[in-house]
Structures are given as C-alpha cells and as structure tokens.
C-alpha cells in the first residue's frame, strides 16, 4: 500500500520538474521622519519600517498560464495598525485562445491619470501604506475576459469585501478621533460577503485608448461616524453603483488624459467627478534626459462634501528621468485648491539604483495650507521625509 507521504513526495517531485517556479522579491528598510508632532496626540516623529514582499511565480505554456503567490508584510515601529500582513496575490491566470481567466486574490488597475485614481475601484485602498491611496489590498475575484477585434470585454465577480485600513492611535495621516476598524458595519444584509460585480470594455484605435466600466457592489469608500462612546470612529460601508470612462490620446510628445466617474452611493447620493489633463515630455534634451510636465484638473460634484479638498483643484507636476545606467528619476508635484486659491500640499519622489540588487528612494510630502474642514487639514502636521533602501532579489 502506498502511503500518503509517498504520494505527497511524488506530487512535489512532479510539480517541481513539470514547472520551473521563480522566487523573487523585495525587502525594504524605510525610515521616515515627521517634521512635527501630530495634531491628535500622535506625537512620535520617527517611523522605522521594514517591508517584505516575496513573490513566487510558476508560468507554463508560453506564459499563457501563470500562478502567482505574493504575500506582503510591513512592520512599523510607530503604529501597530500600520504593521500589517496581506496577501497581495494568490492567483491563477490563464489564457485560452480568445478567453482569459483569473481566479484568486489579485490586483487590477484601472485608470490613466496620475494625481488621483478616480475610477480604480476593484481593490480596496491600503491607506496605512501611503496617504496617496496608490497601495491596494489583494481582492478575491473571478475575472473572465473575452478578447476580439472589438477589444477586451471583462467581467469581475468579487465575492468578499476588504475593509480599508486606517492608522491607529499612534499613527499619522488620521483625523480625530481614531477609526476603530473592529466596529465597521455594512448597509447590506450580507455584510462583507455581498457579491460585487463589474463589467469593463477596453480598446484602442491608433493613438486613442479607452475603457468603459460599470461597477455595482460595496462602496470602497466608507463614511465615518462617531461610535456611541464618542472616542472612536466607525466605518460604514454602503452599496454603490458607478459608471466610468477613461480616455488617453497619445500624440507625439503629448499624452491627453481624462477619467470621468458617475456614481450613486447609499451614503453620498448621486454625484460625478473627473480628472482631466495632460503630460508633455521634452524627450532626450541632453544625454538622454527626459523632462516631463504634468497638469491635471480635479473636479468633484459634491464640492465640500467630498471631504478630500480635491473637489476643485489643479495638480501640477514635473518628472525628470536621466535614463542613465542607474535609472535616476525625480517626480515633484503640487496641488492647488481653487476654492482657497492656495497650495494644498507638495510632494517629491526620487529613486536611483545602486547596483543590480539595491536601490534607494527618497520621498516627501509637505502640507502647506489645506482648506479648513478637509481631511488634509486634519493631517496638516504630518509632513514627512523618508529615505528608503530596498533590496531586490
């Protein structure tokens, strides 16, 4: 009789010989210093973080079938809520002739603009990672795409909802009082098991790329209400329906971009929002150096109720890429609030490779004069500078 152990060993041997997996990843040391004590008794000014993000990939059939496992761990010395673990990716992605299928925990990006990812709705924001909202939590999904000469037609079924992460009592980028994630509640009777769904059509023709999307399900953006004890906030997730459009026109050195969102949510009613703008690059101006300029206008129909202070704002930015052997890049940007006529904040991000495996990144965010009543005003003492060192293998 063949023992269970033998079967397991045989399976592992077959597995490892049939597929050649690849193990890679990133380890980062991320010291961050805040210029001031926080406004809400979060007075510590140093956050020493370590991030580990390994990735294991098995690809076969000319890369038409890919299995990916990518866990994520952050340890933060400042905020125990910022210390967290997530599975960014645990998925199978397969391609058969005109069909693509993705099953598992994964990440999907929608959008064309840089200052705000307005239409990007599939994954929840991992807000403790970065106040810019660009980091996302892994989302369980079934995603089927049908590809033909009229473009890419996709269906997403999202069976489990991920809650947004919020800073803890010692953390930065939070308002007052602190959000207690344990008290989260849902307007849907199914709670976080509501089956969310989305449909997307994307295509391109010559210099024009576009995508039309529709989403119906749990609103990724909670509303925060005071808990009965008055000392914490309670995130409440309603249901939402939204339609969105993304367009990019790529003509010579110009990228013309627009994202438009029309949304109905239980908690915010009907509204629409947009980001429109361009990116112009002076390419190869000296020894391969590119200098780009970015302009985007942000509008939100809810005006002040949007709470972001970005409902009538302009983003201006510049990107410098040396295109040298170290891949030096610098991005600086600022957001002007048209309502107050003042600068909300400014930020910079710069990276340079040290060698094959190491790279440093410098990042800063400076809050200048955010509008009163906006979220940015609550975090206006949270200016920081961060110099991180990353090892890639």
């Amino acid at each position: 009789m063949v023992s269970f152990q033998t079967i397991v060993i045989l399976c592992l041997v077959c597995w490892s010989t049939a597929f050649s997996g690849e193990f890679s990843g990133e380890l980062s040391f991320e010291p961050r210093g805040y210029f001031h004590e926080g406004a809400h008794e979060n007075s510590d000014r140093v956050d020493l973080s370590i991030i580990i993000q390994p990735e294991y990939v098995i690809a076969w059939d000319e890369d038409r079938k890919v299995f990916t496992f990518e866990p994520f761990v952050r340890y933060s010395s400042l905020d125990n809520k910022r210390s967290h673990v997530d599975i960014r990716e645990l998925s199978f992605l397969g391609s058969w002739d005109l069909i693509e299928l993705r099953v598992g925990i994964s990440k999907v990006f929608w959008g064309v603009t840089e200052s705000q990812h307005l239409v990007d709705v599939i994954n929840q924001t991992d807000l403790v990672e970065s106040p810019d909202g660009e980091d996302k939590l892994g989302q369980p999904m079934i995603n089927i795409a049908y590809v033909n000469e009229f473009g890419n037609f996709e269906i997403f079924l999202l069976p489990y909802f991920r809650e947004r992460t919020f800073s803890g009592i010692d953390g930065r980028f939070r308002g007052s009082p602190v959000v207690n994630m344990e008290t989260a509640s849902y307007l849907s009777g199914n709670g976080n098991n509501h089956l969310d769904a989305a449909f997307r059509w994307s295509h391109y023709m010559d210099e024009l790329d576009w995508a039309l999307s529709y989403f119906e399900g749990t609103d990724r953006e909670p509303r925060l209400y005071k808990n009965a004890d008055g000392t914490t906030l309670k995130p409440v997730y309603g249901q939402a329906r939204q339609a969105s459009l993304e367009i990019q026109y790529t003509i010579s050195d110009w990228l013309l971009k627009a994202e438009v969102l029309s949304k109905h949510s239980d908690l915010n009613g009907n509204y629409w929002a947009s980001v429109t703008g361009f990116e112009y690059t002076f390419a190869n101006i000296h020894r391969g150096m590119d200098v780009g300029f970015l302009y985007e206008y942000l509008y939100d129909d809810r005006k002040e109720l949007a709470g972001s202070g970005l409902d009538n704002a302009t983003f201006l930015g510049s990107r410098v890429a040396l295109n040298d052997e170290n891949g030096f890049e610098l991005l600086i940007g600022t957001i002007f609030d048209h309502q107050t006529g003042r600068m909300n904040n400014a930020f910079l991000e710069s990276t340079r490779r040290i060698n094959e495996n190491w790279k440093w990144t410098l990042e800063g965010n400076f809050l200048v004069s955010p509008r009163s009543g906006s979220f940015l005003e609550q975090v206006k003492h949270d200016d920081y500078l961060q110099a991180s060192l990353s090892f890639f293998w």
């Binding site: 690849e22 890679s24 990133e26 990939v57 690809a59 000319e62 890369d63 038409r64 890919v66 992605l93 391609s95 002739d97 005109l98 693509e100 990440k107 999907v108 990006f109 959008g111 064309v112 660009e134 795409a145 590809v147 890419n152 994307s202 391109y204 010559d206 210099e207 790329d209 990019q248 790529t250 010579s252 050195d253 110009w254 990228l255 690059t281 390419a283 190869n284 020894r287 391969g288 590119d290 295109n323 040298d324 052997e325 170290n326 891949g327 490779r353 060698n355 094959e356 495996n357 790279k359 990353s390 890639f392 293998w393």
Partner: protein, 267 residues
Amino acid sequence: MKLFQLNIILALVVFSFSGTGAMGQETVPKEERGLWVARQIDREDEGFVNQVSEATMTLRNKQGQESIRRMTIKSLEVDGDGDKSLTIFSSPRDVKGTAFLSFTHALEPDDQWLFLPALKRVKRISSNNKSGPFMGSEFAYEDISSQEVEKYSYEYIREESVMGSEGHVIERVPVDPKSGYTKQVVWVDGANWRVGKIEFYDRKGEKLKTLNFEDYKQYSNKKWRSSRMEMTNHQSGKSTQLIWSNIKFEQDLTERDFDQNALKRAR
C-alpha cells in the same frame, strides 16, 4: 536518363536564381541601388514567422564599470505591417517583471505600452522618444526597433568586402525628423545580406556611434542572426555589448501573445 534531365533542369533553375542577385544589381540604376540593397536585407529576413530570444546587455562606462540588463524578447512577423514585439525585463532586479509591448509601423508612429508590475498598471506611452537611450545603454530605442525599409531614404556608396565576401556600403537617412541621426552608414555582405557594421552620425553630422555585428549563426530556417553586437559611443567613451542567446524561431505564438493581456501575464 530522366533523373539526369531533372538534374539539368534543377541546375539551370538554381543557376538562374543565383544569377538574379548579380544581374539585378547591374540592371538597377545607380540612384536606386541603395534602396535595392535595403530591400535585399529586408527580403532575406522575410518569413521568420516569429522569434524568441534572450538578450544580455553589458553597459560599460568610461571608467570600465559594468552594469547588466537581461531581457526576453519575443517578436512576431505581421503581414503588410511592421513587427510586433514583447520585451520582458528580468534584470536589474528592481525592474523585474516590467514589460514593453510595441507594434511597429513603417511610417505611422509605433504603438507602445508599458506594464508596471508594482501597480499592475498598463500605460500607453509615446513612441516619439526614439532617440533616447534604451535602459541607460548606448542603444537608442530606434536602434533596437524593427528596421522597416520605408523608415529611411538610401544612397549607394561603394562596393567593399564585408565579412569575407563581396559587399556593399550604403548610406541611409531617417525619414522621421525625430530621429537622433542625420545619417547611418551600413556595411552589408552581398552573399547573405547580413549587416556587418553601422556607423551613426548625430544631428550635428558628427560620428556618434559604431555598431559591430559579430558571430553570425545560421538557424534551421536559414535565417542568419548575429550573436554579439558591440555598440561604441565615440563621443562619451561608453559602450554596450548585446549578447543574444537561446534564439528560437517558429514557436507556437499568435497575435494573442502580443496584446495587452499578454503584457499583464508576461514573466
């Protein structure tokens, strides 16, 4: 007897075919001879169907410091249009998983998309920056993109021995004003239409770079490929060596392996 006749016929056919090369060249008027050479190179490469290969670039600066770039390049021949290609980077490790999709066109601008693995974002990028350096190397984007005949105007310079056989030297001038070059001088062998050397002249008309093609190998589908390319920048003193390995032709690849979904799957 029959066999003998067949042999004669075959011999005649072969003779007349091999004759067209030399005959063709003589009948081509002098002012069209440069274009004629370019067409021979292009025709010789026709029918490669698709190609998968691994490339290693070694960048060397003036002080002799080296850095490495590794990538897998897949390309697909497209009837009546430029080739499609998918480049997947594996080194340096911080750009691992970054992938670049390009649809080349003869005269229209190329369509290009970049996949950024950290954000899982596909970004349409401008193909206008053809004169910029590819991954910090001495190769410009326009040096590594598919060489369509229509991208240049040609002039025949002289006959010269190239790679040990009778060859040709032609001059080609990029049609696109966005090109980083005023002209390129190309050495071609007349027997197999392999490019042996290219000299690049910058916008000021000064000699900028020389690209040498070494270690040509002939593959089972009769196509010749250089295994080692050496690009030297005469003005900066930097150089880049490009080594090709694992070159495979006629793989099981379709247009679907060269679209935005494939870009997201690329490893």
